[in-house]
Symmetry: D2
Subunit: 309 residues, 4 copies
Amino acid sequence: MPDLARVVSEIAEEMRQRPDRGKVATYIPELAHVDPGAFGLVVIDNEGNVAAGGDADMPFSIQSISKVFTLTLALGKAGDRLWARVGREPSGSAFNSIVQLEHERGIPRNPFINAGAIAVTDLILSGHQPREALGEILRFMQFIADDSTITIDEGVAASEKRTGFRNIALANYMKSFGVLDNPVDYTLGVYFHHCAIAMTCRQLAMAGRFLAHHGRNPATGLPIVQPERARRINAIMLTCGHYDGSGEFAYRVGLPGKSGVGGGILAVAPGKASIAVWSPGLDESGNSHLGRIALEALTKRMGWSIFAA
Amino acid sequence: MPDLARVVSEIAEEMRQRPDRGKVATYIPELAHVDPGAFGLVVIDNEGNVAAGGDADMPFSIQSISKVFTLTLALGKAGDRLWARVGREPSGSAFNSIVQLEHERGIPRNPFINAGAIAVTDLILSGHQPREALGEILRFMQFIADDSTITIDEGVAASEKRTGFRNIALANYMKSFGVLDNPVDYTLGVYFHHCAIAMTCRQLAMAGRFLAHHGRNPATGLPIVQPERARRINAIMLTCGHYDGSGEFAYRVGLPGKSGVGGGILAVAPGKASIAVWSPGLDESGNSHLGRIALEALTKRMGWSIFAA
Amino acid sequence: MPDLARVVSEIAEEMRQRPDRGKVATYIPELAHVDPGAFGLVVIDNEGNVAAGGDADMPFSIQSISKVFTLTLALGKAGDRLWARVGREPSGSAFNSIVQLEHERGIPRNPFINAGAIAVTDLILSGHQPREALGEILRFMQFIADDSTITIDEGVAASEKRTGFRNIALANYMKSFGVLDNPVDYTLGVYFHHCAIAMTCRQLAMAGRFLAHHGRNPATGLPIVQPERARRINAIMLTCGHYDGSGEFAYRVGLPGKSGVGGGILAVAPGKASIAVWSPGLDESGNSHLGRIALEALTKRMGWSIFAA
Amino acid sequence: MPDLARVVSEIAEEMRQRPDRGKVATYIPELAHVDPGAFGLVVIDNEGNVAAGGDADMPFSIQSISKVFTLTLALGKAGDRLWARVGREPSGSAFNSIVQLEHERGIPRNPFINAGAIAVTDLILSGHQPREALGEILRFMQFIADDSTITIDEGVAASEKRTGFRNIALANYMKSFGVLDNPVDYTLGVYFHHCAIAMTCRQLAMAGRFLAHHGRNPATGLPIVQPERARRINAIMLTCGHYDGSGEFAYRVGLPGKSGVGGGILAVAPGKASIAVWSPGLDESGNSHLGRIALEALTKRMGWSIFAA
């Protein structure tokens, strides 16, 4: 077994030197200001060992990675009722596509495309005030990451609200089919805010531990979700976690993972480790370019692919 | 660790008693004659232990399961050139959909939908006579299954040729974009025949061993493919192996798998076992109804899900 | 030449007796209250003769028929610049489909589907306050109909605003592609209001006269639009005026026409007459059931089809 | 009323001098050999006056224009039963698109896209030998054009048969839905041959006379089809005759028309004249570039638009 700490610092060094860094997302001004040279990687294994490399403690906008945690929370509240509102099949289309929604009468393909995540947020909201729902999501993040300093970047949230016409379209479209229960503004308000949570790689890897450890916090042994549920969330991350690049990520990296346009990726080596990587430059599918390459190197060197174990 | 032999025979017994058996495919007469009560399950672990239950030695038409083996063969011949002809993303649509082909100029989404498998067959053919290509495929199947008695059911092949208008449409459509090199009749002739290979669960589980064992025959240690290639084929099986039910299969079963309309499924527990199950009744996505349920029970009892290991 | 007045009253009588009346639109409460037995027909020929039958003076919500007049107005303001924002091809899909918008980057197919009409309204608004734009539209309607009593049904407008999620989705979707200049709320406010204009068949037939008379008011001889523009608006009405039932309308009626979900249809017999018909029950394509049948009878008896003249 | 003969020769002269000539179709070698400088225009009015300009007597491949005549013939044989096999709505997509077929279970949108015309040909064939059906089509063309010298260009037909993969795909796709009755090879054989009929502008204008004259041969007064049927065929030409450029053709030219990739267009001024134009260079929608421009000039100068009459 190779030494995890050494592998992580080698990869961080290799990534720092690469000239190809993808393109930083510009669709909201706040994201565009990020340093394209940034790179961070943190791995926390199930024994609690932490290996960190690069900008491991620099906060970034987790964006769509938050969808993993809202899905977890919504399943805890609504159970399998959730699956009446959203499917769990890969979409075969871009993260913000609306075409499939029309053909399938407003039911999003899976909880990780934007439409699906909005439907999940609507379930969490279910009659509460947006502020309450948002507080619940944030406290859940702080709880699973053992870190009460995690916050929302209000500038990013406001910026998304101002320019998120496509998400407003998706939400109203679902509303027209009766798939959302709450006022569209409420649901989108919560959605834009939970996407604007800022975390470091270290915090994100902490938050992902329960998925690598049968649903439990490996430090305390306390259950976050049932083992079966952790397994199933991992399955959805594998098939749907990278939009129209999910097949490619499975093919190259071989781990369940969820990306965000902020350049972060949360990956899970089931039974072994929780992994967070961040590099703001994106590839054509909107996933972190160096993030994916770093994860490919990591699973290869550690022998962690779920397809070979 | 539960006893594999006992788990397998328990599941076989449970399945035999279930009243819900799905619907046997009727689109070609030969497939429609199969006994809907049939059920077989064979698991071969990497130590060579064989656990068999039910109709383990009754041959059935492997149909699309053959696509796993033609992909393996084509990758051996063409290497990564293959990926210029076919993608590796989930399709988000039915096994025989033609819509995506138009939007993506004749390049099929992945090698496991019909269009993609036809493109793969065309690569194997590459200038040879259909008879030669077919012989090569059959010999490869016999070789990896250590069984020279495996044959093609000519009645099934002839029937598909006579009624396979949709596959003829797909092939000609790709041909119009220049994605196929050989005469359409040649490519389809080979395709219809390799789908008509008849195997038992025992033979099929034997043939799948290399995917569970880092690309090697676990009995002889001889390499069939590179470890990385085995891993990657497993990844494609996980994301694309059950058409528009791939997400569901990953969610419930948690193993790479490939189904066929004959009612068979080949599943792989990487590092652990090769699994073949057969029950001719299909669910709405065209995958074996009891086959999937049996695999869900198997992975649960054995703790084999790749998302929890 | 048959006697127009007699033909009109015969048709009105025949329609009154028919048991098949289609289904009244229920998607907004205000429209659902309408009497399904209502039927009105008014024809005004280019000599100024008015033939009226049935409920010719009962006001109804003109809904999408207003799109003919906003198109006329927008062409007057923006000229052919308008065609950079909206196409002029039949859509081959439903009035509120969003699929095509994604494939064609936010540019609606034609000015008569909802998305296209919203884009046209945005052009009329162009920097003004919604109240001003709406006043301009209403005054234009009053002017061409020679009737200053035409008003907006505020109840209908408010109801659409409250429940028009699909239109909100379409508008935000276009906004995300930069196809709308004004705040979405402004544009939709004007759109919902001009769709809520209430008119009688008599008023509507008056308003359509310029399209039947080379762009001029036949009573005063004053030009409303250039002859070429009137011709072209008629052409768009013919190919796109009935959503996915446009081919059927051309096939059966053979006149340029525009329908609304309130059950009205404005039809134009170029060089001959302006025609308004109203019956609130709709067919499957969302067009007035008896309205279309009445127009088919009218053109047949009068020999007015543009495909035979 | 302007002098028709002078207008026609002026337009022919103007077109001869234009530098923009579109792009000659190259998808079959035989069509690619045509002189891009060719231009012909023939107008035959209902009094029998013939005005000819340019290459009026040079034969060209009529291609999809033949669909007007096979539709006429099939309606004569099958009557309204035909509409169970093919719709009459504009398609909103390209001439050879297969997407809509999947969504609407093999029923083509209208008889003028390739799929629809193949379904129409299948109805004409209905159990006969291809040779007989083809003979019937050719004799019908000769009859309505009063010209027994019209023939099929066997080189073009053979070339289409060899390279028409997309049409083979469309036909097999429909066959898979049971929309075609005859062997696919038979139907396509007839289809490829009737598209390969060669005609001059003079012959084509002769053949189109019945559509401009209430279904009758204006020279003899003999009925070809009922007046209502002529009117309805004109309506379909108007809404569907130029594929995804039908709206544009209606907007600019304002006449029912049908184009072919050979560069010909048959247009009908109902009650006035039959018009054939030919120039081999095509625009982006696959319609004759100069042909459309010449028709626009013709209808403008003669005042023949059906939207203004």
